[in-house]
Symmetry: C2
Subunit: 212 residues, 2 copies
């Protein structure tokens, strides 16, 4: 593939981008054997600064650990609700389902190994945050590869990263970038759930463009 | 598209992931009229925390600004080379071409508008860095949409973000996440240039997976 991929593929890719949603409503049905490995292989195709590949994927399968993470998310979510001063906003926030940690058949915690020597520091002397960004790129790659196969992903950021890192007992120097739920979505949608629920609409893409 | 996209598309998506490279060798040929707008539209389909859509795209067209950014990158690159203590590593670093800022027909600086009220803080009380991560997701979306159309993208992180932010005179509170070159690649490849040049090979994907 030295050139373009053709308009049929580009249209399908656009459709994938539209249907790639953050999923919080999962069927508890297990995913097909081996599919998580396929998805993690694809995630490792992501770009990374200096080709450092600093992503580390922790599949969380122990029921007690899954429950502890879900409990941590509920505590953080409750605190987040309380932080909204306006009672109506607080009520609207509380009405949202923001994670599917108890139903999703798969939990994957994604870390950045800040101590990895790979890449030898190339590309991150002035912008060291690009190491974390590389892990974000791997998460997005995983997300698209999953959705293409009909599998939904939800990125849970409403939890205490220090607590989750401690729970999972990972090597020192690993930073939690994202905690992911994967599973079959109960209600596929091409609109963000937060837009459907009236929390935040899509903004005009033109309003994000500037010229200098 | 309520379910999977089918195996033909999945295979093509895998091929796209393999051929999506960081490009530093561009043809100076201008891109087709309107294509940058198409790509930025696609980028706005990226996921974002609380549907906050905090990405801001600045197309840098003024020749003096483009030159100033390229000069900034060269200064940062030279300092980065000097930071390698081992003379052989320093020599190997200096031999790499790490940006195509002078040839690429398009420069796009991508910022995070930290002051945007969109999303009302949802999802980022415990992990506020997810706002920046949302912009990274938009950059990756742009990258894939571009490569699908035969257009290469190079992410330049070897520059002084404060200096570039000042040069582009953007509103207060905007943080530079990435500075991108876009154009037709001179040499399409399915291997990272840093792997081809012997700087950093691909690591075994299995070494990045753990179970808890």
């Amino acid at each position: 593939m030295t050139g373009a991929f053709g308009s049929v593929f580009c249209d399908q890719l656009d459709t994938l981008l539209a249907w790639r949603r953050d999923v919080r409503h999962f069927s508890p049905e297990p995913l097909a054997d081996g599919i998580v490995d396929v998805l993690l292989d694809r995630a490792c195709r992501a770009p990374s600064v200096g080709n450092s590949q600093p992503w580390r994927f922790v599949r969380v399968v122990t029921p007690a650990l899954r429950s502890a993470v879900a409990a941590s998310a509920d505590v953080a979510n409750s605190a987040a609700a309380d932080a909204y001063v306006d009672p109506q906003t607080r009520l609207a926030y509380r009405a949202l389902k923001l994670h599917g940690l108890r139903e999703a058949p798969e939990h994957i915690a994604v870390f950045c190994d800040a101590g990895a020597g790979t890449g030898a520091g190339l590309g991150r002397q002035t912008m060291p945050e690009t190491l974390d960004y590389s892990v974000v790129l791997a998460i997005h790659t995983l997300w698209l590869a999953a959705r293409a196969r009909g599998i939904g992903l939800g990125w849970v950021s409403i939890l205490d990263p220090a607590e989750v890192t401690r729970l999972l007992d990972v090597p020192p120097g690993w930073r939690l970038i994202g905690y992911l739920c994967l599973g079959l979505p109960l209600v596929p949608a091409d609109m963000p759930e937060l837009a459907i629920q009236g929390w935040q609409a899509r903004i005009d893409p033109h309003s994000t463009r500037f010229i200098r």
